[in-house]
């Protein structure tokens, strides 16, 4: 189910003299199975955009089309949207409320019409994807878990619905390097399984390594958009954009400044490693 955005605008407090135009005339198409990153400084409209995509806000102007159908239309069946688009907010752990982990993860399936056996199997699967042992955890209180575990349980609650499109708002903020790595591995697996991933993040390393396409928002408009590699390549010529280069890219620039000639287009650590190997002639066992 491709998700399309046509001339989308959103204004907060439209009645006030201090109304804020959060988005202005956005056009975007995200095809099935894409992994799209959204970058931009705080207040550039990222969160507004993903809430509009998930149908949680109603556009001031323009439309959001899921599979060609306007999700804000009166006759649109919202339950299709809820089953198709999952959204994980910045602190998903705050949405936990049930008495047991299993009940909380199953919450989204309440109106799905699935029977008890199917619900349990989905809950088990979602918890296992998030790295839990179902038999150990399902009867615990979600509120008594550690911060990281809470977050994983909350994400399992979104995965249990098995959405075809998954939206993440700053999912790696506040995670330690190990947590960040395993979370991104999980996301990559979901993506390989055919799920469309839309990820808002400030972390350029994560975006450069994992996304296929990038959208850079600035003042509620798309400032830069294209394949991840192309966007990062263009960044140095867009000084006004508040988006940093990836670390590997920065290292390549620093080396170039000290006279080491590396090929163009180094974005990820693998690119850098490959270029250095070729340059230094190191064997297979180079670091």
């Amino acid at each position: 189910m491709p998700i399309e955005v046509e001339n989308l605008s959103y204004t907060y407090m439209p009645e006030s003299t201090q109304s804020v135009a959060a988005l202005q005339g956005i056009n975007l198409r995200i095809a099935d199975g894409e992994f799209v990153g959204i970058m931009g400084r705080t207040g550039s409209g990222k969160s507004t955009l993903i809430q509009l995509l998930a149908g949680l806000l109603t556009p001031t102007r323009g439309r959001v089309l899921l599979d060609g159908r306007d999700i804000a239309a009166k006759d649109y069946d919202r339950s299709i949207l809820r089953r198709t688009v999952g959204i994980v907010f910045q602190y998903p752990e705050y949405q936990l409320f049930e008495t047991t982990v299993a009940k909380d993860v199953a919450f989204g399936l309440k109106h799905s019409g699935l029977n008890h056996v199917e619900v349990t199997s989905r809950v088990r699967k979602a918890l296992e994807i998030m790295g839990f042992d179902y038999d150990k955890i399902h009867n615990q209180s979600p509120l008594a878990l550690s911060g990281g575990e809470k977050r994983r349980v909350a994400i399992a609650g979104v995965l249990a619905v098995q959405p075809k499109i998954l939206i993440f708002d700053e999912p790696v903020a506040g995670l330690d390097p190990q947590g960040r790595y395993s979370f991104m591995q999980l996301t990559a697996r979901l993506h390989q399984g055919g799920t469309t991933i839309i990820m808002v993040s400030h972390n350029t390393d994560v975006l450069s390594e994992y996304t296929e396409r990038l959208v850079v928002l600035e003042h509620g408009q798309i400032a830069l958009e294209g394949l991840t590699k192309d966007v990062f390549m263009q960044l140095p010529t867009h000084d006004h954009l508040p988006v940093a280069m990836s670390t590997a890219q920065e290292i390549a620039y620093m080396l170039a400044a000290r006279g080491m000639n590396l090929p163009q287009g180094i974005i990820t650590y693998d690119d850098l490693l490959f270029a250095l190997k070729a340059k230094l002639g190191g064997g297979e066992e180079a670091p």
């Binding site: 009645e15 006030s16 003299t17 809820r82 907010f89 949405q95 409320f97 989204g108």
Partner: protein, 264 residues
């Protein structure tokens, strides 16, 4: 978003917005006194004129300024009917059992309904043009004299302003939690009352947890910044009232006094 009945603040840069909240609070009291003591057509005309000027200068859209009072029409109708039916039994135009419609009763009904509507419009004009925190600060400064009779006004002010300060934060958090639950399939519309109450659990539990977490964090942060109770704080001298504030006070005072003069 549903329109709240009253109490919404619409930021703006009109002269009314710019007035000192203390002046606006006193003006509110003066104008309320004027409404209550108004008794003649001229009196009400004067108040209507003042209200129109305030709304025009504040650049408030009519539906926001008058809407909340307008939406109270069922309540206002009941007040009117009760007054018309029960005000007095002398000189009835129409009588049946215990109900007596009299001219005086109808007049009294119009009088009370007009007063309530005007009071709502005036106080609504205050909350529309003044940030809630400004109103609390003004209140805190106006209750200062109560310290003389042993009321810890600084603590009261701190409690009120912290509470009000966190209303938008918690609303925002509640909004986020609501969206998260809707996104994973929660439904908040149900016909049966027990179902309806249950359907709000996914909202209420996280909001309570969030409120306690906020309170803990705030207490720690305040302590870390050296807060030891309001009593030992050095006072912050509020900015003095400026010319427009005094002008507004004078106008409102004049309106009140004119009302009393018109009564005689």
């Amino acid at each position: 978003m549903k329109q709240p009945l009253t109490g919404r603040f619409i930021p703006g840069d009109s002269p009314v917005h710019a007035l000192d909240a203390r002046a606006k609070l006193i003006c509110l009291i003066l104008l309320l006194a004027a409404v209550v003591s108004a008794g003649t057509v001229y009196g009400y005309g004067l108040i209507l004129a003042v209200i129109s000027v305030i709304l025009l200068v504040a650049e408030l859209p009519l539906h926001l300024a008058v809407g909340p009072a307008w939406r109270m029409w069922p309540f206002l109708s009941v007040i009117f009917i009760m007054n018309a039916l029960f005000f007095t039994a002398t000189d009835p135009l129409w009588s049946w059992w215990i109900f007596h419609i009299s001219l005086a009763g109808v007049q009294q009904g119009i009088h009370v309904v007009t007063n309530v509507a005007l009071i709502m419009i005036i106080s609504n004009a205050l909350t529309l043009t003044t940030a809630p925190l400004e109103i609390t600060k003004a209140l805190a400064s106006l209750i200062k004299p109560l310290r003389l009779i042993g009321i810890p006004t600084d603590d009261v002010a701190m409690i009120i302003s912290v509470a009000i300060r966190f209303v938008p934060t918690l609303l925002e958090e509640a909004d986020m939690i609501k969206k998260a639950q809707i996104a994973r399939g929660a439904r908040f519309e149900s016909k049966r009352l027990t179902e309806k109450a249950k359907s709000y659990l996914p909202l209420i539990v996280p909001i309570f947890i969030a409120a306690f977490r906020r309170a803990d964090e705030l207490a720690l942060a305040m302590e870390a910044r050296g807060y030891h109770g309001a009593g030992r704080r050095t006072p912050q001298r509020p900015a003095p009232l400026r010319l427009p504030d005094y002008a507004a006070l004078m106008v409102c005072m004049t309106v009140s006094i004119l009302q009393l003069a018109l009564l005689r």
